[in-house]
Amino acid sequence: MSTNLDAIMDIEDVVKHALWRAKRPLSDRMLFLELAIWAYRELCSNHVEEGFRMVKKTPNSINIVTFPDDLEQFVAIGEPVDGKFVPYTRKDDIIITVTGSVTETQDSDDGEGVSINDAQTLGYPGVGGVNTYGYFAVDDENRRVFLNSQTRSEVLLIYKASNILLSGTTYVPKKYVNAIVAWILWQDVVGDDNRINITLQREMAYFRRLDEIKTRSFSLDDLMDEIYSGYTMLPRR
C-alpha cells in the first residue's frame, strides 16, 4: 500500500485546485474546465510523452485505414516484426484519389491502388529509401491513410490523442498540474487589451513551468540508450 499521496488527480479536481489557487469564484468553473482540457491537450500534443496510442487497424477493401475519431496527430503506421514496430515509409506522391463516392473503388488506369515500383535502381522510383514492408500516404482532408505494397491484413497505427476520456474519469499526472494552471491563467487573459503586461508575464510563467517538466523527462541513461541505439556491430577481421 502506498504511503504517499497519489501521483494522479481527476481533471475536475485540477479545475477546483486552479479556481482555489487563482481565488476565482465557483462560477468560473465551466470556463476553467474548458481551459484545463485544452491545457492538457496542448501538453500531450507537443510537450510530454502521454497521449501516444498504438492500435491495430484493418485496411478496408481498397487498402485504406481510416483515422479513429480521437486521433489528433498522426505519428506512424506500420506492422509488427519480431516483436517490434517497423514503420512504413511515407511517400506523398502515392495516388490518393478514389473512384466513386457512395461506394469507393480504385481504378488502376488512374494509378489508384497500384503498388509503387521501388525495386528499380535507375530513374525516379530509385530515389529514396526502399521499404520492403510498405508505404503510405496521408489524406488529411478525409482523415485516412492510403497503404501501398504492404502485405499484412492488420497493421499498427500510432497516433496522439487528447488523453481526455469521453466517459469515466480523466486522470492527470500531478507533475503537470502547475503547467496546466499556468496555461489556464495565461489563456484567461489573452485577448484582453487592458492586461497586455499580465498576459506576457503569464505566458512566460507557463513556459517556465514547461521547462520544469521537460528537464525531468529524460535521465542520462535514457539519453545514452538513445545514442547507442544508432550503433551497429562491425565484423572483426
Binding site: I11, E12, L26, S27, M30, E34, L165, L166
Partner: protein, 186 residues
C-alpha cells in the same frame, strides 16, 4: 435579532405610530444595499447572511429542469445573484456549481460540456435553471440571500458585520422623511 425585533427597535426610536410593515419595507431597501456591499467587501462567510430553504421541488419544462425561487433574492454582483448555493437535499453535498446563462450557451457542444459531471445552475427570472441535472434528484436545498421583507417575522436576520448601526440609522433617516402610514391588511 429577529426581523420583528429589528423593526421594533426602530419603532422604539421613531415612534410606534409607524406600522411594522412600513418599517420593514424601508429596512429592506437599505438591507439590500449593505448585502451587496458585503459581497464587494468579499465577506468570507456569505451563508451567514442567507436563509436556507430545504426540500425544494425540482420541476421541468421545455427548457429543462428548474426550481422556483421561494422568495425574492437580493441582486448581487455574481453570476447567480442572491442564490448562494444549491445542494443535494439532506446531504449538504455541494455538487452544484453556479454558472451564467452565457457560460451554459457557450459551453454547449464543447469538450467541457462533454466530460462535465457536475450540475450547474443559473438564474432566469424567478427560476433557478439546472444544467446537466440528474432526473433521479427530485428535491434540492437552497441557500439564498433574500430581501429583508421576505424574512418571516420570527426569522433571525443576521446583519453584515460592522454595518448593523448603518442599516438601522439609514432606515430611521428615511422613515423620518415619510409620514407614518396606516397600512391596509390585505
Amino acid at each position: 435579532m429577529t426581523k420583528a425585533e429589528i423593526c421594533d427597535t426602530i419603532r422604539n426610536i421613531i415612534g410606534w405610530q409607524y406600522d411594522r410593515r412600513q418599517v420593514a419595507a424601508v429596512v429592506s431597501t437599505v438591507y439590500s444595499m449593505y448585502i451587496s456591499d458585503a459581497m464587494d467587501r468579499r465577506v468570507k462567510n456569505f451563508e451567514f447572511l442567507s436563509k436556507e430553504y430545504t426540500d425544494q421541488t425540482v420541476s421541468d419544462d421545455d427548457e429543462g429542469d428548474y426550481v422556483t425561487l421561494p422568495a425574492a433574492i437580493v441582486g448581487l454582483p455574481t453570476a447567480t445573484d442572491g442564490v448562494v448555493s444549491v445542494r443535494n437535499a439532506g446531504s449538504g453535498d455541494l455538487d452544484y456549481f453556479p454558472m451564467s446563462e452565457k457560460d451554459r450557451m457557450l459551453s454547449e457542444g464543447l469538450d467541457s460540456d462533454t466530460i462535465n459531471t457536475f450540475t450547474g445552475y443559473y438564474v432566469v427570472g424567478n427560476k433557478i435553471r439546472l444544467y446537466n441535472h440528474s432526473s433521479s434528484v427530485s428535491t434540492v436545498d437552497l441557500v439564498l440571500a433574500i430581501q429583508f421583507y421576505d424574512f418571516a417575522w420570527t426569522d433571525e436576520v443576521n446583519l453584515p458585520g460592522g454595518r448593523d448601526f448603518n442599516i438601522i440609522d439609514l432606515a430611521i433617516n428615511r422613515l423620518l422623511n415619510a409620514p407614518p402610514e396606516p397600512l391596509k391588511t390585505e
